[in-house]
Amino acid sequence: MKNKVYETFAEAVSDIPDGSTIMFPGFGPAGIPRNLIAALVQQGARNLTGISNNHGRVGNQMDVGRLIEAGQMKKMVCAFTAATHPSQVLAFEKMNEAGEIEAELVPQGTLAERIRAAGAGIGAFYTPTGVGTELAQGKEHRAINGREYVLEYPLHADYAFIRAYRADTFGNLQYRLSQRNFNPIMAQAATITIVEVENDIVAPGSIDPDCVHSPGIFVDRIVRIPPDGIWETPV
C-alpha cells in the first residue's frame, strides 16, 4: 500500500502546480487547514482557484486570506465576498474591485451541495435556493411538482486541504466538534486530499471504526502538525 504519511507540509504541497483548484474548509476559526495554507504561501503556486466558505478573516490569522493577499489566487468561489462588518474593507474586496481577483458568489447550502455532488459523482442537481435572485440568472430552471428550481453543477477540485483531529495510517479521519464543517465533503471532492492532523498518526484500529468521519479512501496525504505548530491561532 502506498504510504500516505508525509513528514513535512512543504513536502505534502510541493507538487501543486500553478493554476490548480484547491478546496479550503473552515467555518469561522474552526477546521481551517492553517499549516497547509502556510506551506502553500511558501511554495508560491499562483493563478489558483479557491473554493471556500469565505475569503479569510481580518487580522493576522493564517487562512486563505493570506494566499489572496500574496496574489496567489485568481478566483474565489465562496458564500461571502464582503467583510462581516460593513466598516471593514478587506484585501479581497479591493482586489476584486481592481479586477485582480475573480469572485463567484454561491449560497452556502448550494456550495456544500455542489461539493458533495462532486464527491458523489452527481452530474448536476436542482435546488430552489437562489430562484428569483440574480444568482439564478442564465441558469436552467425547471418546475418540479409546482415549485421552481434552478440547475446547479458540481464543484470539483484538484486538491483539498483538510484539518482533522485524529488520523490513522490508512487515512481514516476523525473531526472534533464543529471543526467538521466542510472538511468531510471537501475530502471527497478533490483528486488529491491532503490532511493536517492535530494528534499523532496512529495505527489502523486505534480509532474506533464507529468514530471515523472520513474513511481513508478519500485521503491521499497526511501530515502531523508538530506539537509546537507555529500556525495555531489561540482563541
Partner: protein, 221 residues
C-alpha cells in the same frame, strides 16, 4: 404617550413568543440572535447553526472558549447535553430539506408580497449570502426582525425591493420596532403597534400599503 420605538431586546422578546415548544430554530445575526434569551423557561427550542451544530446553548464563559466549538456568527459556545455535530452538507440538508421549523432573519427590505432582501448593498458590489438564501427558501416559517426604517429613515417595508432579493415571497411575519405585520395573500396585515403608535403612524413609515387587522392591538410581550 410618547411614540417611542422598541429597542432591539424588546423586538427579540416579541419574536420569542412566536416560537413553538420543541421547534428547531435558526437565528440570524443581529436582533435575531437576541431571541434565544427570551424563550420562556420550561420550553424547549433546539437551535440550529450552519456551523454544524444542533442544540446550541449559551455562549462559552471567558477563558473557557474552544476554537472548535462555534456558532454561525463565529461566537464560542458552551458544550451542553444533547448537542450534535455534523458536516456542512448535513447542516444544509436540515435547512434545505425542510427540517428547520422557524428561522428569524434580519432584513434590508421586505416587499409587500414577502420578498426578502438581506444580503447585499448594491453600492458595495460584494455581498454576504452565507446561509440566508437557503434559510429563506427552506425553513418552515421565516420571521423578519428589524428596525422599521433604515439609517436614513427610509421605509424598509416597500412595494418592491430595490436591493437584490434573497428569496421571493418567503417572509411570513415581520416584527419591527413599531409594529407586527403578517404577510398574507390579502397583503400586509398590520396586527400590532408599539405603545403610543397608531396605524396611521405606522403606515406613514411604510411604503407598502398595510391592511388593518380587525383585531389590531398594542404589542403584547
Amino acid at each position: 404617550m410618547d411614540k417611542e420605538r422598541l429597542d432591539r431586546e424588546v423586538i427579540a422578546m416579541r419574536v420569542a413568543k412566536e416560537l413553538p415548544d420543541g421547534a428547531c430554530v435558526n437565528l440570524g445575526i443581529g436582533i435575531p440572535t437576541l431571541v434565544s434569551s427570551y424563550v420562556p423557561e420550561g420550553m424547549t427550542v433546539l437551535y440550529h447553526s450552519e456551523s454544524g451544530v444542533l442544540n446550541c446553548g449559551p455562549l462559552a464563559d471567558e477563558g473557557e472558549e474552544d476554537i472548535d466549538l462555534i456558532n454561525a456568527g463565529g461566537q464560542f459556545l458552551k458544550m451542553v447535553p444533547g448537542m450534535s455535530f455534523f458536516s456542512s452538507a448535513d447542516a444544509f440538508a436540515m435547512i434545505r430539506g425542510g427540517h428547520i421549523d422557524v428561522t428569524v432573519l434580519g432584513a434590508l427590505q421586505v416587499s409587500e408580497v414577502g420578498d426578502l432582501a438581506n444580503w447585499m448593498l448594491p453600492e458595495r458590489g460584494v455581498g454576504n449570502i452565507g446561509g440566508a438564501m437557503d434559510l429563506a427558501m427552506g425553513a418552515g416559517r421565516v420571521i423578519v426582525a428589524m428596525e422599521h426604517t433604515d439609517r436614513n429613515d427610509r421605509p424598509k417595508i416597500v412595494k418592491e425591493c430595490s436591493y437584490p432579493p434573497t428569496a421571493r415571497g418567503c417572509v411570513s411575519l415581520m416584527v419591527t420596532d413599531i409594529a407586527v405585520i403578517e404577510v398574507t395573500v390579502e397583503g400586509l396585515v398590520l396586527k400590532e403597534v408599539a405603545p403610543g403608535w397608531t396605524a396611521e403612524d405606522v403606515q406613514g413609515l411604510t411604503e407598502a400599503r398595510l391592511v388593518l387587522s380587525p383585531d389590531l392591538k398594542e404589542i403584547e410581550l
